[in-house]
Amino acid sequence: MGQAFQPAVWVCPEKSIMSRPKEPLPAKLVIRFLFRDFGVQVEALRRIEKIFGQMDYLSAPGSFPYTTYYDREMGGGIRRQTAAYLDLVGQVTLPDIKLRTNAIEEQLSQAGSRQVNIDPGMLSEERFVLATGKNFTHRIYLRDGIFADLTLMYQKGAYRPLPWTYPDYREPEFIDLLGVLRKKLRFQQDGKLPGR
């Protein structure tokens, strides 16, 4: 039989370095929309604002050339718009947000086809996470059928894509926008807006 194990460092039980779980800071809600009919999109924006409060950023509608996946449902000429919302949200609410945006997609459907695709995500200082109902290897299950997709990580001064990040979330303009929103988020977490 060998000698008894002798640890190199003894840890006093009263001074354990075990972490104490705590809620993270609230995040910024960022929602991206895909649509063909601008009238439907304006209605989607109105319904989203009614639930989540006023927008504090809105992009002009732009083209969406990355896939024809949505054409079958919405028709061709799909456009993309991005909005961010003033009121910060608790990170635990991501599944609830996704379920509510799913409901709006359904309300605005015509003859069973979606007229607007709504993708909510949360921006924190560390990362940007999308909510999805689809399971996949890199997605973490939250609850109520909703998964979290780690889409971008903040490293060395910018949000950076991962191997599975969708092409439209790699766009330089979107990454730039998230950088600006991150600055604003830090102000807001201190309970203020940038000063005059």
Binding site: V42, L45, Q54, M55, D56, Y57, L58, S59, A60, P61, G62, Q81, L86, P172, E173, D176, L177, G179, V180, K183, K184, F187, L193, P194, G195, R196
Partner: protein
């Protein structure tokens, strides 16, 4: 880090959802339709209708 001109050009007016353009000093984004100027403070565009200044 200053905001890129390209980013400023893709933002929209939260009131009319129409285009905004940076002023010549890059200190505000102007909506010609609504006659509003959204200030840029500490490199952050403040795209809130309540905080916007009328152009006139």
């Amino acid at each position: 880090m200053a905001i890129s001109k390209e980013l400023l050009e893709i933002l929209a007016c939260p009131k009319c959802k129409g285009p905004v353009e940076p002023d010549e000093n890059m200190t505000a984004l102007i909506c010609r339709q609504c006659r509003l100027a959204y200030e840029i403070r500490e490199d952050i565009p403040i795209m809130l209708i309540d905080e916007a200044k009328p152009l006139d």
